[in-house]
Amino acid sequence: MNFLILHAPILIIAIPLLAAFATLLISKISPKLRNIFVITVLSFVLFLVLLLAHQVYTSGMQVYVLGSNQTTVATPSGYSIPVRIMLTVDGASIFMAIITAIVSLVGAIYSLSFMKKYSGLDKYYTLLLLMSVGMFGMEFTGDMFNLFVFLEILSISSCALVAFWTHKGEPSEAAFKYMVLSCIGALFVLFATALFYGQYNALNIAMIASRMKYSLLDKIALGLLVAVFAMKCGAVPMHMWTPDAYSKAPAPITAMLVVASQASLYALFRGVFTLYNVTLNCLTVGWIIIILGVLSMFIGVTMALPQHDVKRLMAYHAISQTGYMLLGIGVGLAVLGDTNALNSYGLMAMKGGLFHIINHAMYKGLLFLTAGAIFYVTGTRDLNKMGGLAHKMPLTAIFFMIGALSIAGMPPFNGFASKIMIYESVYKFNPVLSILAMVVSILTLASFVKVFHSAFMGPQLPEYKNVKEVPKSMLIGMGILSFMIILFGVFPDIVVNTIVAPAANALVNQGSYITKILGGA
C-alpha cells in the first residue's frame, strides 16, 4: 500500500498509457476481454486517485521526481535548481484528477453499449484512455514543457475521437476546426514556455514562480497563456469550436470533452495563481477573467435558446456554465492582493467557482449522456422530431430531469449549492455581476424546460412506438453521475470542506507550493 501511495502520481498517468496500447493488442484476442480490461484499468486508476487524494489531504502536497534514485528529492545533489521531470500533486491537482477519473470511468462504462454497433472500437478505447492520460498529465505536471506535451496529447486524442464517425463529413469538419485552434494554441503555450526559459533558465513552475519579475516578456507570456487556455475551455470570444465539437462527438466523448476543457481551465488557474500570483496586476487580470466569464455566461445562454439540435443546445449551455467558474475564480483573483477582502469573500468566490467545476462535470456529463441516450433510441438530435419519450424511457427522463434541475440551480441538487456560493460572494464584490448570474440561471431553466417538454412530454409519437429503455451499461453510467449530483446537492458542506477548500487554498497559497519544491530557498 505504501508502495502504491509513493508511486501513485506516476502510476495514475502511466497505467492508462500502458493500457491504451495494450488495448490494441488485447482487442485482437477478444473484444469482450478488451471491454473488461478497459473498465478494470479505469476503476483501478480511480482507486489510485482516491488513495492519493487521501494522502494529499492528510499530509500535504506530494512531489514525484522521475528518473532520479529517490522519488521526492526535487533538487538532486550538486544542483540548486530542479532539473528533472517532476510531478506535483497538490489540492487543486487532485481535485481535478478526481473529476477526471470519475468521468472517464463513467464514459467508458457508457460506451460499452453506446458504441457497440460501430467498428474500430479498439482504437476508440485506446484514444479514450489516452485522453484521460492527457488530462491527468496536465493536472499533475510540475513544469511548463510537460504541460505543453500533455496538452498536445489531450488535443490529438480528443480531436481524433470527435472525428470518430467518419462515415459523415461533419464530425471531421468539427474536428479539423478544433484541431487547428488547439494546435495553434499549444504552439503558443510552447512559445510562452520559451519566453520563460529565456528569462529564468528554468522550466519548473515553482522555479519560474520564485524568480518571477513580471517584465514585459512575462506580460506577453501571460497574455498568450490566458488567451490559449480561455480558448481551450470555451470562453466566449473564442468559443466557436465548442458547439461543433461537442455536438458531433459521440456522447460519452462529449462528457469527457467537458472535463478536458476544465483541465484547460485548471491550467489557466495554475498559470495565473501559481506562476504569477501577486506579482501581476491582480485587479486588471481579475477583471479580464471576470469579463470573459460574464460574456461567456450571457452569450452562451442566449445562443442556446434558439437551438433545436439537443447536443448543440447543451454545448452552448456548457459555455455559459464555464462563465460561472471564470466569474468565481476571477473575483478571487481580483482581490488576491487584499487579504481582508480575500478572506471575507474572495476565497468563498473561488470555492464557489471550483465547486462549480466538479458540479458542472457531473451534471453536464449526465445531460450529454442523456442526449446520447435519446440519440441512441431515436437516431436524431433534432428537438422538433422528438416527443413523448417519457412513456417509453422513464429512467432516462428522470436522469434528464435531475441534470436539468441541477444546471438551472434548483435547491436539492448540486448546481444550487455552488451557484449560491458564487451569488453571495460575488454580490459583495459587485452586485451587478451577481444579478447577471441569476438572470442567466433563469434563462437556463427556461431553455431546459423547453427541451424536456419537446423531448419527453406530450403524446407518444407513432415513429417511436417500438423504442425501448436504453441498455443497462448506459443506465449505470448515467446512474453514477445522478447519484453524485444528489450526494453533492444534499451534503454540499462536507464536499466543500473536504475537497474544494484544499483546492482553493492550494491555488491562493503560492508560497507553500514553492517552498515544498525548492526546499525553503
Binding site: 506516476i10 502510476l11 502511466a14 500502458l18 493488442l25 485482437k28 521526481v65 528518473g67 532520479s68
Partner: protein
C-alpha cells in the same frame, strides 16, 4: 496510385535496403551520436515510403501489411513504457541497468571508443521508440495512400 517508371523502381530496389540499414544504425547508436529512436525510425519509414511511392499501394500491399505494422507499433510503445515500469523499484524511468556490467556494460566517462553497451537502459528505449516510429509513420503513409483511392481499398 499506380507505380512509377522502371528507372525509379530499379533505383528503389538498390537503395531501400541501404536506407533501412542506415536507419537502424541511427537507432542503435542513438546514445552515442546525434540521432536516436525517432530519427532512425523516420529514416526507415522513408525507405518504406519510397517503396510505396515507386511501386504503388496496390502492389506493395502484400509486402507491407498494415496489420503487422499496427502490432509492431503497439509492441514498441509497450516496450518503452514497460521499461519505464521496470525501474519502478526505485523510481519510474530509473536507469536500472546502468553500471551493471555484462551485456549492458558500464557507464564510461571521458574519451572512449564508443561501445554500444554503455548506457544501460537507454539503447533499449531507443530501439523501442525506433520500432514504434517506423511502424507508426509507415502506417500513416499506407493509410493515406489507400484513402486516396477508394477503389483499391479492399
Amino acid at each position: 496510385m499506380r507505380g512509377m517508371s522502371k528507372i525509379v523502381r530499379t533505383i528503389t530496389n538498390i537503395l531501400y535496403s541501404f536506407i533501412i540499414i542506415f536507419g537502424f544504425y541511427i537507432i542503435m547508436h542513438g546514445h552515442l551520436t546525434p540521432g536516436g529512436g525517432f530519427q532512425g525510425g523516420a529514416v526507415v519509414a522513408s525507405a518504406f515510403a519510397l517503396l510505396v511511392v515507386s511501386y504503388g499501394a496496390l502492389k506493395i500491399k502484400d509486402m507491407l501489411k498494415a496489420k503487422n505494422f499496427s502490432v509492431s507499433e503497439c509492441s514498441g510503445l509497450l516496450a518503452f513504457i514497460g521499461l519505464g515500469f521496470l525501474g519502478i523499484g526505485t523510481v519510474f524511468f530509473y536507469n536500472f541497468l546502468a553500471g551493471k556490467g555484462g551485456l549492458f556494460g558500464n557507464v564510461i566517462y571521458g574519451i572512449n571508443p564508443g561501445d554500444l553497451n554503455t548506457a544501460g537502459v537507454l539503447p533499449l528505449m531507443n530501439i523501442a521508440v525506433g520500432i514504434e516510429v517506423l511502424s507508426g509513420l509507415t502506417l500513416i503513409i499506407l493509410y493515406m495512400f489507400n484513402a486516396n483511392n477508394p477503389k483499391e481499398e479492399k
